[in-house]
């Protein structure tokens, strides 16, 4: 047997030109035509949900529910009379969807047993404010639209969503991002599990208002995508009217390479994951295109390419694992022949993954076959026995250069699985299928759904359009915070170190910082560094992250000023303050055994300490001496004298 899957994997990896991200340069991305855009989701801070009066932001555990409801989704026609591709795919999967409901957070609206109530005006106002900040053209009338989701994540089968503005832009320090649109929409259910033909959701998050900011695909490298995402989130947070914390902000990242297709990486929870994910995705596409060329060079005609299959009835050792995960009545072991596909099933796609994964992922999602759901003729780690292979090949009348997939399934799933395999292989001959992919923590992605198109949109017949009058827009305009880029420039002018900007913007601390400067006269560069270093560090150490009210800091600096302490005393106090936010400042100082000492008194100790350092030394290194003296004085000096001044005096 001449074909070696491991060798083939390495060879295809090389051909794709894949390199680790840390080694990649802009020219590498230019070479393969990196292109990316963002859809940034942000929950809005409202008391109630978007279309009903259930409270927003109350969450429950998986097992804590009051009732369950079962639904099945069917595709329906779009407004323009088309069926949507994703809808048809989801219908093929024939999932039973179970919703777990908690009475406190779900009413009859969530489970689609009552029509929507009027759109939450608080949410609408926030969405318009953010649209204005994003320089979008605000629509004259808001039309609620239904966006179909047949995966069951919304019990109605569609998300109610509406455009607030189109064509905007957001300035980053070195680049402007063009925005396509901003919409307001209801959040979906949270998935609990998805096994076989049964998917379970909970409805606590369902219906909470969020906005989605969509950019043009203007980003040219993975780091820039992350930066863009950060800036959109900074902008959202600058209003102080959005939710923060786990899951409050999520993004979908669209990526393609030259000649590739738009692939949407869904639900990326942290911006810092974006670079690795986009890097891997653009190379996955690039590698699959090389595989297409490899196949076409063999002279395959995609219009006449067909798989063949047979049932394996022998009880073979390798099939145990497949049979273990298979479910249903009358499970069969099926072998599928892929003509002329040798070399593909071990073809590199992402680090540690091959084209086999593309098929296996779809078998899981579309045919509901739990993993491991297939074994191929090109297994890298545990290759199939030659004798088994040739046996099966014989049954299939396979030719040299054909590849083989074996799966186990029952009933209707067999048909779906066979269709799925053939479909994905034919797509490989065409290019990159448009799809949504789920991100994994190792920076790779797996198939989630066929990418939905504009065909899944449908006007909501349950709601009336909402006109947005000029006066209303003007009123909202008058209360907007300043642009992030202006704040960025201010920080720069003030000489605040750049490494703290992200922290300040992501916590929306800029307004507080300005207030502290205005009321206490503290140096901007000092307070900036204090927030970005000392506060961030203390917060990282603390267990009550997210609960600390930053406004206490204003009182702290006012206290220091009133008491005529040096502001540096805040650095000592912050850790305890974080732990006990309700404690009096005086008490914190007492617990730190801090004493007020006069400036002259401290300075008076210098000569004595200098002498002490010099004792028994032949030569005196002045720098060492100064540092030593500083060290001796620091504890009593802090808060009582400016440390830089003290250093000078020494």
């Amino acid at each position: 047997m001449s074909f070696n899957p491991r060798y083939n994997y390495g060879k295809s990896l090389k051909e794709s030109g894949w390199i680790p991200r840390r080694k990649a340069k802009q020219q590498d991305y230019n070479r393969i035509g990196f292109m990316s855009g963002l859809e940034v989701h942000q929950q809005l801070l409202t008391k109630e949900k978007m279309f009903c009066h259930c409270p927003a932001g109350i969450f429950n555990h998986h097992d804590d529910f009051d009732a369950e409801i079962i639904r099945h989704m069917r595709p329906t026609l779009s407004e323009l009379g088309e069926y949507d591709g994703t809808a048809l795919m989801e219908f093929r999967t024939r999932k039973e969807i179970v919703y777990r409901i908690k009475n406190e957070t779900a009413c009859t609206y969530e489970v689609d047993d009552t029509p929507p109530f009027p759109l939450n005006s608080e949410a609408l106002g926030i969405a318009i404010e953010i649209s204005l900040l994003s320089k979008l053209n605000i629509v004259g009338e808001v039309h609620i639209t239904r966006k179909q989701y047949l995966d069951g994540s919304i019990p109605t089968g569609f998300q109610r969503t509406a455009i607030i503005g189109v064509e905007g832009e957001l300035a980053m320090p070195k680049k402007k991002i063009r925005l396509i649109q901003l919409s307001i929409e209801e959040d979906s259910c949270r998935e609990i599990s998805d096994i076989g033909h049964r998917r379970i959701y909970k409805t606590d998050r369902l219906g909470m208002p969020l906005i989605e900011t969509v950019t043009y695909p203007d980003f040219v490298n993975p780091d820039e995508v992350m930066e863009g995402c950060d800036y959109i989130r900074f902008l959202n947070r600058s209003t102080g009217k959005v939710r923060t914390g786990m899951g409050a902000g999520r993004q979908d990242v669209n990526v393609s390479c030259r000649g590739g297709s738009r692939v949407e990486i869904k639900g990326v929870a942290h911006t810092k994951w974006i670079p690795e994910l986009t890097h891997n995705e653009v190379f996955r596409q690039w590698s699959l295109l090389r595989m297409r060329d490899f196949l076409l060079e063999k002279g395959i005609d995609k219009n006449n390419w067909k798989t063949s299959n047979c049932e394996i009835t022998e009880n073979l050792d390798f099939s145990k694992e497949l049979l273990k995960t298979a479910s249903g009545k009358g499970i069969k072991l099926i072998a599928v022949n892929l003509p002329a596909f040798e070399g593909c099933l071990s073809w590199f796609t992402q680090p540690g993954k091959t084209f086999k994964n593309e098929i296996s992922d779809r078998l899981k999602v579309i045919a509901c076959l739990e993993k491991p759901n297939c074994i191929t003729s090109e297994e890298i780690d545990n290759p199939l026995d030659d004798s088994i292979l040739s046996n099966v090949r014989e049954q299939l009348s396979a030719k040299e250069g054909d590849a083989l997939i074996i799966f186990a399934a029952a009933g209707e799933d067999i048909k779906t699985a066979l269709e799925t395999i053939e479909e994905r292989c034919i797509m490989a001959l065409e290019g990159i299928p448009e799809e949504t992919r789920k991100s994994l923590s190792d920076g790779t992605t797996i198939f989630e759904r066929v990418l939905p198109g504009a065909d899944r949109m449908y006007p909501d017949t349950d709601t009336a359009p909402i006109p947005l009058e000029d006066e209303y827009i003007k009123k909202l305009e008058s209360q907007l915070p300043e642009d992030i880029i202006d704040r960025y420039n201010k920080l720069k002018d003030w000489g605040v170190p750049e490494d703290v900007y992200t922290y300040i913007f992501s916590r929306n601390l800029f307004p507080l910082m300005e207030e502290i400067i205005g009321k206490t006269g503290v140096k901007p560069s000092y307070i900036g560094a204090f927030l970005g270093h000392e506060l961030k560090f203390a917060e990282g150490q603390s267990k009550n992250e997210g609960e600390f009210n930053y406004r206490i800091l204003l009182r702290l600096f006012e206290f220091l000023k009133e008491q005529d302490y040096d502001f540096a005393l805040a650095e000592v106090m912050i850790k305890d303050l974080m732990k006990h936010p309700k404690m009096e400042f005086e008490s914190i100082l007492a617990s730190l055994r801090h004493k007020r000492v006069g400036r002259d008194e401290i300075l008076a100790r210098i000569p004595f300490l200098k002498q002490k350092f010099a004792e028994g030394k032949k030569e005196i290194d002045e720098l060492k001496q100064r540092n030593w003296v500083m060290g001796q004085l620091k504890a009593s000096a802090i808060g009582n004298i400016d440390l830089q001044e003290l250093s000078k005096e020494i």
Partner: protein, 461 residues
């Protein structure tokens, strides 16, 4: 001409479209004081204002543009939507029962109607097969649009037309009949057809949907499958309403047309049998009987079609302090039959007595039903009840108010002789009055009670 080109636009918005010569379905670029917008102009719903133009932008979303902000507009192309449910030949499978589906305008399969912005039904077997292909595994289907009205517009004329159509189909040898119907008055029609189509040899199943079929979570497809299963395969040859049992997509319930009522404005499981249990449960594959006694399917065609209806029958929903002139006015306007919907065991206040006497003297037929819906009228318990009976009001047992209205209308369409009317009213045709109320005929569980919550967690509501 304008109507087609500027579908739904009127007043100022129409003038703007005319001025810039942009048609509905035209792609356009609009310059406004709020920036530039591009998309396809969509028709506008009739009841919306004349200050906005609706366009579909490239991402598929619809937005409205305030015409007062438009500075210029230009048509750049034209693309009319072709909205059509894919039509496929409904296959004929030997051995499967023949089922006839009558369309009345319900939302079994529907599409968007720009005039109202709501949905309108689509219907042919081919369209239905395109939307719900599973139907072909249940029966051989034929459809007929008897008329197209919304549920709330269903009335005596439609009952009569349906009864006659049912008679004709049975004559032709059909195995079962399904009637697609809006849900609001499904139970009125259920009662009317029970009285008008007696001695049925095959099932007649009324079905609707609480969520229009243009949404993925619609109950329409499953309801239709359940109804076809019941019509084609069930042994129960009665007029039945087939709708969701629980709100989950699990099974349907078959309710007697005379004992069913819509009990929630929007729940899927809105139809309940009142004062009794439903006839049976139905899922995609089988009928699971609940009641043991029912009229069985037969091979003959001996149905009796009695298409009568008197349109001068009304209902009087009593409220405390009701003034007698309300009743006087009805009598004055020529009403021949009045169904009282009284409080408690069947009461109205004393102030109405003289008016009741006057109505009785004029030969108005009066029957008492209950606001409580569950339970029997008991007019012997209190003096007021006895007084009223003496004044000519006849207790109607545990007949539901709407059913009593339908029945009295149907009877007065045949006779106005007081003795006959009373006898016919009180002689049940199909359990509109039952002799006994089973203990499980009244189950309205109270949420919050721990045992109930425990139950709801396990059994889908």
């Amino acid at each position: 001409m304008d109507k087609d080109i500027f579908q739904g636009y009127k007043g100022d918005a129409l003038e703007v479209l005319k001025k810039y010569q942009v048609r509905v379905w035209g792609t356009t670029r609009v310059e406004t004081t709020r920036g530039t917008f591009e998309g396809t102009v969509l028709p506008r719903a009739e009841n919306d204002d004349d200050k906005h133009i609706v366009i579909k932008i490239i991402t598929g979303y619809n937005i409205g543009i305030d015409i007062r902000n438009i500075t210029s507009m230009k048509e750049t192309g034209y693309k009319k939507a072709n909205y059509k449910i894919p039509e496929k030949q409904f296959p004929v499978t030997p051995g499967l029962p023949k089922v006839k589906l009558f369309g009345t305008g319900g939302t079994i399969a529907s599409r968007l109607d720009y005039r109202t912005g709501a949905v309108i039904p689509a219907f042919s077997p081919g369209e239905l097969y395109g939307a719900v292909p599973e139907l072909a595994d249940i029966c051989n289907l034929d459809t007929e649009k008897v008329f197209a009205v919304f549920s709330e517009n269903m009335g005596p004329k439609q009952y009569i037309a349906l009864a006659k159509a049912i008679g004709k189909e049975i004559e032709k040898g059909i195995d079962g009949i399904v009637i697609g119907h809006g849900t609001d008055t499904l139970h009125h029609t259920g009662a009317a057809l029970t009285f008008m189509c007696q001695n049925l040899p095959v099932p007649v199943v009324l079905v609707g949907s609480q969520r229009s079929s243009d949404r993925p979570s619609s109950d329409a497809a499953l309801n239709l499958m359940h109804a076809m299963r019941a019509a084609g395969h069930s042994d129960i040859a009665e007029v039945q309403v087939c709708m969701f049992g629980p709100t989950s997509d699990e099974y349907g319930l078959l309710h007697k047309g005379t004992r069913v009522r819509k009990m929630h404005s929007s729940y899927r499981s809105t139809f309940r049998t009142i004062g009794d249990t439903p006839l049976a449960r139905v899922n995609r594959n089988e009928i699971l009987p609940i009641k043991k006694n029912y009229n069985k399917r037969r091979n003959d065609k001996n149905v009796k079609i009695l298409p009568y209806f008197h349109d001068k029958v009304s209902m009087l929903y009593y409220y405390p302090g009701m003034s007698p002139d309300v009743l006087d006015a009805m009598v004055e306007k020529g009403y021949k039959g009045i169904i009282f919907v009284g409080t408690g065991l069947g009461h109205v206040n004393k102030e109405l007595y003289p008016a009741i006497e006057r109505a009785h003297a004029k030969g108005v037929h009066m029957f008492m039903t209950l606001q409580t819906l569950w339970g029997y009228v008991h007019m012997f318990v209190y003096d007021t009840g006895r007084d009223m009976m003496a004044k000519g009001i006849i207790p109607a047992g545990n007949m539901l108010p709407e059913v009593a209205w339908v029945k009295l209308s149907w009877i007065l369409g045949q006779t106005e002789e007081p003795g006959d009317v009373k006898r016919m009213m009180l002689t049940p045709i199909n359990d509109e009055i039952t002799l006994r109320e089973p203990y499980n005929g009244y189950l309205v569980y109270q949420g919050g009670v721990p045992e109930v919550e425990e139950f709801i967690k396990k059994v889908h509501k």
